[in-house]
């Protein structure tokens, strides 16, 4: 599927750190749309082995801020013909997405999101309890009696996709256009001369380049330390789990902020489930039993008949969180160093639009208009893009 490159070249026009969805998408669009093909994508592990392969594959654009809604809406648009673009089945499946509200204040946020969404042409509606019951007949509307469902934000374009295939599709597309993907190649240092980027040190030698794009999620602070750049990014693990396959019964994607659950059923019949972040800083992907117990009990509040269903696997990824739950993208104080980070728990759905906007930013040296609300310097100016109400389940 991929060309094997035994050695690194002495230099490239662009070096991308991180062969996950975001890095490979940027490489793909650099080659396809901007004609920049002398590109190396480096990864210390393997292709798609980070958060691209660890998320719960939900795609949606029902965000809260105008910056977020426009950005994610463009991503959903790109998703829809991606499989054709790649000639690879991504199992992209539009399901409809319910964000359940169990309190009056949650219902208020749902109405707010619905109005912002509709203003930008995104199909979202605040719906009542009867609508939820019709859409999800098997749900316990009282959630065990302690968290009755009052209504929901229903987002019709909500979808899931096969996450590994996204990395493979972008990777193969980039590879066929001449981009080199080097796995097992760790960046150990970044060389800057006169305030400009000069190259990267790797475990396989030095590479000269004037442009580096960093798309490494939970490893971002370690790369930024090499350049003495400070950001608000802090890392917590985010865990998820998957059940044994059962016959199809759950068509839509269900999210509950109060119960800290999101769940969908894959084409294979497994239930893919996630919850909120682990509660303290940690740079380890070892999962915990507490997580399974907590998430399983909340799943049973909604769907008591699942009590005999077994959990097959659990895992964790390192989420690079920001204080406003929006990413940090684009130019940085180091000329030639571009950042695509702060993707915390919400990065998978943004993969296509991140590739599009970051390739534009790297090729032209100017931030793409769609990422202007996500600038590196917004914290110093106290101009945050508050997306917590729509990006997390833990509020």
């Amino acid at each position: 599927m991929f060309t094997r490159h035994d050695s690194l070249k002495a230099g490239y026009d662009v070096v991308i750190i991180g062969a996950g969805g975001h890095g490979l998408a940027a490489a793909y669009y650099l080659a396809r749309d901007h004609g920049i093909r002398n590109v190396a994508v480096l990864d210390k592990g393997y292709l798609g082995g980070g958060n691209t392969g660890r998320n719960t594959t939900i795609i949606r654009s029902n965000y809260l801020t105008p910056e977020g809604v426009k950005f994610y809406d463009e991503s959903v648009r790109l998703w829809q013909d991606l499989a054709e673009d790649f000639d690879l089945n991504l199992f992209y499946s539009t399901r409809g997405h319910y964000t359940l509200a169990h309190t009056d204040s949650a219902m208020r946020t749902m109405r707010w999101r619905a109005e912002v969404n509709k203003h930008f042409g995104v199909r979202s509606e605040a719906v009542d309890a009867a609508f939820v019951k019709r859409g999800i007949p098997s749900i316990d509307m009282t959630c065990g009696g302690h968290a009755p469902i009052l209504g929901a934000l229903f987002h019709e374009p909500g979808a899931i996709a096969r996450h590994d295939a996204v990395a493979w599709g972008y990777g193969r597309g980039a590879d066929r256009r001449g981009v080199e993907i080097h796995q097992q190649t760790e960046v150990t240092g970044i060389r800057v001369q006169g305030g400009r980027l000069a190259g990267v040190e790797t475990t396989r030698g030095f590479i000269a380049t004037s442009k580096v794009l960093c798309a490494v999620a939970g490893f971002t602070p370690r790369i930024l330390d090499m350049l003495d750049l400070q950001t608000p990014i802090y890392v917590h693990p985010l865990q998820a789990m998957v059940s044994e396959p059962v016959k199809p019964w759950l068509d839509p994607i269900i999210v509950s902020g109060s119960l800290h659950v999101y769940v969908s059923q894959t084409a294979r019949g497994e239930l893919v489930m996630g919850a909120s972040l682990d509660p303290y800083e940690l740079h380890s992907t070892r999962p915990t039993l507490d997580f399974v117990e907590g998430l399983a009990s909340h799943m049973l509040d909604m769907f008591p008949f699942l009590s005999e269903v077994k959990v097959n696997r659990q895992w964790a990824g390192l989420a690079d969180m920001t204080p406003d739950f929006a990413p940090i993208m684009g130019l940085t104080p180091v000329e030639g160093f571009y950042l695509d980070a702060g993707w915390g728990t919400w990065g998978f759905k943004a993969t296509p639009v991140c590739g599009k906007t970051m390739s534009h930013t790297v090729a032209t040296g100017r931030n793409h208009p769609l990422i202007e609300g996500f600038g590196f310097d917004r914290f110093a100016r106290y101009r945050l893009t508050g997306e917590k109400g729509a990006a997390s389940v833990g509020h």
Partner: protein, 110 residues
């Protein structure tokens, strides 16, 4: 279940505790620059390593200090909050052979 040893309450499940973030010194707001202040407000040491952190035992409302390796989730030592006034020992380098948070013997005895 991960266990944390509280200087006041002894070994308790980690779910009884709230994490209060890394201990940081505020710059003097009267003399620091706008840049120093916004950096204090927002920026964090995101890389893994040995860090002094605030933790609170929720049931007893007891705040204390934990020295923890955030790469391996290993608690090296715990201190009552007063230790901050006396001055905390310099941060050690990351070690490989300390007890982990998942072992009941983690942390210092009170």
């Amino acid at each position: 279940m991960k266990i944390l040893v509280c200087p006041l309450n002894g070994a308790r499940p980690v779910s009884e505790f709230a994490y209060g973030g890394e201990i940081r010194r505020a710059p003097d707001p009267d003399t620091c620059t706008d840049e120093e202040w916004s950096s204090y407000v927002f920026n964090r040491s995101g890389s893994p390593g040995m860090k002094y952190e605030w933790w609170c035992h929720i049931a007893s409302g007891f705040w204390f200090i934990v020295l923890r390796d955030t790469l391996r989730d290993v608690v090296m030592d715990t201190y009552p909050a007063e230790a901050l006034r006396r001055g905390l020992p310099p941060l050690p380098a990351s070690q490989a052979s300390a007890p982990s948070l998942s072992s009941p013997s983690a942390g210092a005895t009170p």
